[in-house]
């Protein structure tokens, strides 16, 4: 196995871990029927708060907790505005996207480029010796990367293999049915929105405590929140596909930057920056019903069924709607 390739993949796994964590968090939230649109702002704010707390306390753990709390707090505003105040989730989420980013910039001012604690790098014994997988997945990552691995399986298991998972999915699919079975719909929406928000916050900490350590203006993770939201859709709200989407995205991004270095390619440098966004639209097109139907029309009938099944990405049926008991 080519050493350089392993290096590149290892870096990819590290650098996409915040995307994985944030997209999983949003998957959980949206599975419960709530849209937390604020990701691009709340990741940034959590990164800032997490870093400041880590600098203040000297402990990355406290930084991580502060970041998770921040993410949960932003999510709390959305769910309170939705359930208690009957305000549109998307509107509140959008306002929070901007507000959280500005707030991050404000509180981060005096921490710009300050050196702070960083997460250590850890390799997993035994696992790191597995050929290929070892060097890529289990060597020299910060602990949050391993947390992201665990989260993928844990969310899948919780959603699809446990009884509370049934309730979680039911709340996002058909809240009336959940209510009929004694599930407290809005309480679950509170809980999972907060859990999802905390994970979004964790993603912020992964940035400011390791992947892009410290605080800078403009924040280095700007834009990734939108990418994470798109990955959730691409991933069809399924943890495995979501994580696949995150890696795919990071991989394509890496390839695009490799193209820039290739001497034969004469793409104006700035246009390379268009690639992530073209990718985002491309991935959404791939799973959007309108585009699928257009695509399918060109295919033979036999291919239509499995194409539809692979690409289908149905949102939880009650996503973004409000539930009132009476």
């Amino acid at each position: 196995m080519n050493e350089e390739l392993l290096n590149i993949l290892q870096t990819l796994v590290t650098s996409s871990s915040p995307l994985v964590i944030a997209a999983l968090g949003e998957t959980i939230t949206e599975r419960a029927g709530v849209v937390n649109l604020s990701l691009d702002g709340s990741i940034t704010l959590a990164a800032a708060v997490g870093f400041i707390a880590a600098v203040g306390s000297g402990s990355t753990l406290i930084g991580i907790l502060a970041a998770m709390l921040t993410g949960a707090l932003v999510a709390l505003i959305i769910v309170v505005a939705d359930i208690e105040l009957k305000q549109d989730q998307v509107a509140i989420g959008f306002v929070l996207t901007l507000l959280a980013a500005s707030l991050a910039q404000f509180i981060g001012q005096s921490y710009t480029r300050v050196r702070g604690p960083e997460l250590p790098f850890v390799s997993l014994t035994f696992l790191k010796d597995i050929p290929f997988l070892g060097p890529v997945f289990f060597t020299d990552h910060n602990p949050l990367v391993y947390v992201s691995f665990i989260l993928v399986f844990a969310t899948w298991w919780w959603m699809f293999r446990t009884r509370p998972g049934l309730a979680l999915r039911a709340v996002g699919e058909r809240p009336e049915s959940a209510f009929a079975r004694g599930t407290n719909v809005n309480r679950l929406r509170y809980i999972y929105t907060l859990v999802g928000g905390a994970l979004v916050g964790l993603a912020g900490a992964a940035y400011s405590l390791s992947i892009k350590p410290g605080w800078t203006n403009p924040p280095a993770m700007r834009g990734d929140g939108w990418i994470a939201l798109a990955i959730v859709i691409f991933g069809g709200w399924h943890p495995f596909r979501v994580v696949l989407g995150a890696y795919l995205f990071a991989g394509l991004r890496a390839i695009s930057s490799a193209i820039q270095r290739s001497p034969d390619v004469q793409i104006p440098l700035v246009l390379i920056n268009a690639l992530p966004w073209l990718l985002m639209i491309g991935t959404l097109l791939l799973v959007s019903s309108g585009a699928i139907e257009r695509l399918l029309r060109a295919l033979p009938r036999s291919a239509q069924v499995w194409t539809r099944n692979i690409l289908r990405s149905d949102p939880p049926a009650a996503l973004g709607t409000r539930f009132e008991e009476h």
Partner: protein, 386 residues
């Protein structure tokens, strides 16, 4: 609005604490405050399209003049054109645009001057440190946007690296890979520039073991530090700011930097006395002590990452440059030649820049084939020229 001293405005493109270009200017301004009695600095940081897209230079200058500023320093080539336009509206205020050349070319109004440091020297030294240290024979250079300034700095680093790789380390200069990646601006603006963190990682992943920073901010050192902590033997070279190595001292080979204090103090003093006539200056190092904060406009501080043996070679190299500089003294306040910029040298497309035995001219009106206007990277370097 004080009568007893000079109020001057310092407009920065990045944050005043960016551990790079903007902080160096900010500290230059503080140096003026400390050494020119009664002087007071007004600062506006992060005037750029990402942080303050709604704010124009005109608005900022208006506010500063309102507060009594009679000298405005716009500290980036990003402000070059705007400075000229705004200066027309404030004929009684003196403007200094750092790194621009419009006072030299005559494009600027009468109240605009320029100043710049001859950091090319320091870049030669930094390149040498990289060339001495690399084991894989692959050096990465993280560049900002592409223009004459950034090309000549990257090229200086390359010349230094090639020279030392060949002459001290005994390597084959043809086998030395020197790759330049441009991110698109002086610092990271997500969505606008390439992500410097990712680019540095890519350099290292692809076999480079030394990466040199050409941008305003210290991502190169951050990533190199992280990599070293994971046990890789990689190194970084910082840029712009004297304390640039602090980010990751153990892997820092050194930092070529600007020291704006002396030049700004000189200008501010003369403006305060009413004796300043706008001009273009390009200030060199104080070869007796490159790192003297009161006399040297540019400097190089070697880092802890440099081995003892290589440090010795580097000192030898610096001494050689100093001798060269003594032999080619500045004339009319302008440099006459830079070390290692000696033929045969060709541009990437093969155009001859200097024939055997000739020196490339540092700057000349209407001559693009000079160091200041360097139109392409040099032959032997990998990376886009425009």
């Amino acid at each position: 609005a004080q009568d007893d001293g000079l109020t001057f405005g310092m407009i920065l493109v990045g944050p005043q604490s960016d551990r790079g270009w903007s902080q160096a200017h900010y500290e230059g301004g503080q140096y003026v405050e400390a050494n020119l009695p009664g002087s007071q600095m007004l600062v506006f940081e992060s005037l750029n399209s990402a942080d303050a897209p709604e704010t124009t230079l005109l608005q900022v200058v208006t506010e500063m003049v309102d507060q009594g500023a009679t000298l405005i320093i716009t500290s980036s080539d990003a402000f070059e054109e705007d400075t000229d336009v705004v200066a027309e509206a404030f004929p009684d205020v003196t403007f200094i645009n750092a790194s621009g050349d419009n006072a030299f070319t005559g494009e600027a109004p009468a109240n605009v001057g320029n100043t710049m440091g001859q950091v090319e020297w320091a870049k030669l030294i930094a390149g040498c440190a990289a060339g001495l240290t690399t084991e894989t024979g692959s050096i990465g250079y993280l560049g900002p946007l592409i223009n004459g300034e950034t090309r000549r700095l990257a090229a200086s680093a390359y010349l230094g690296a090639r020279y030392c790789y060949e002459n001290y380390k005994g390597g084959d200069p043809a086998a030395l890979t020197f790759t330049v990646t441009w991110i698109g601006f002086w610092f990271n603006i997500p969505g606008v520039t390439l992500d410097p963190t990712a680019e540095v990682n890519t350099f290292f992943d692809n076999g480079a073991d030394v990466v040199m920073s050409g941008i305003d901010t210290p991502e190169v050192m951050t990533v190199a530090g992280q990599r070293a902590e994971r046990g890789e033997s990689v190194y970084g070279v910082a840029y712009d700011y004297a304390a640039g190595c602090d980010v990751a001292p153990g892997v820092c080979l050194g930092v070529p930097y600007f020291n704006w204090g002396p030049a700004y103090l000189d200008i501010a003093t003369r403006v305060n006395e009413g004796t300043y006539t706008p001009e273009w200056t390009w200030n060199g190092p104080d070869w007796s002590d490159m790192n003297n904060p009161d006399t040297s406009s540019v400097g190089f501080i070697a880092g802890d990452g440099l081995s003892e043996e290589n440090a010795a070679s580097l000192d030898e190299f610096i001494a050689m440059l100093a001798t060269f500089a003594e032999e080619h003294p500045d004339a009319d306040g302008l440099p006459t030649a830079f070390g290692l910029w000696e033929g045969p040298l060709a541009l990437q497309d093969g155009t001859v820049l200097a024939a055997e035995g000739e020196f490339v001219k540092p700057i000349e009106a209407d001559n693009p084939l000079t160091i200041w206007y360097l139109p392409q990277l040099l032959e032997g370097m990998v990376g886009a020229s425009e």
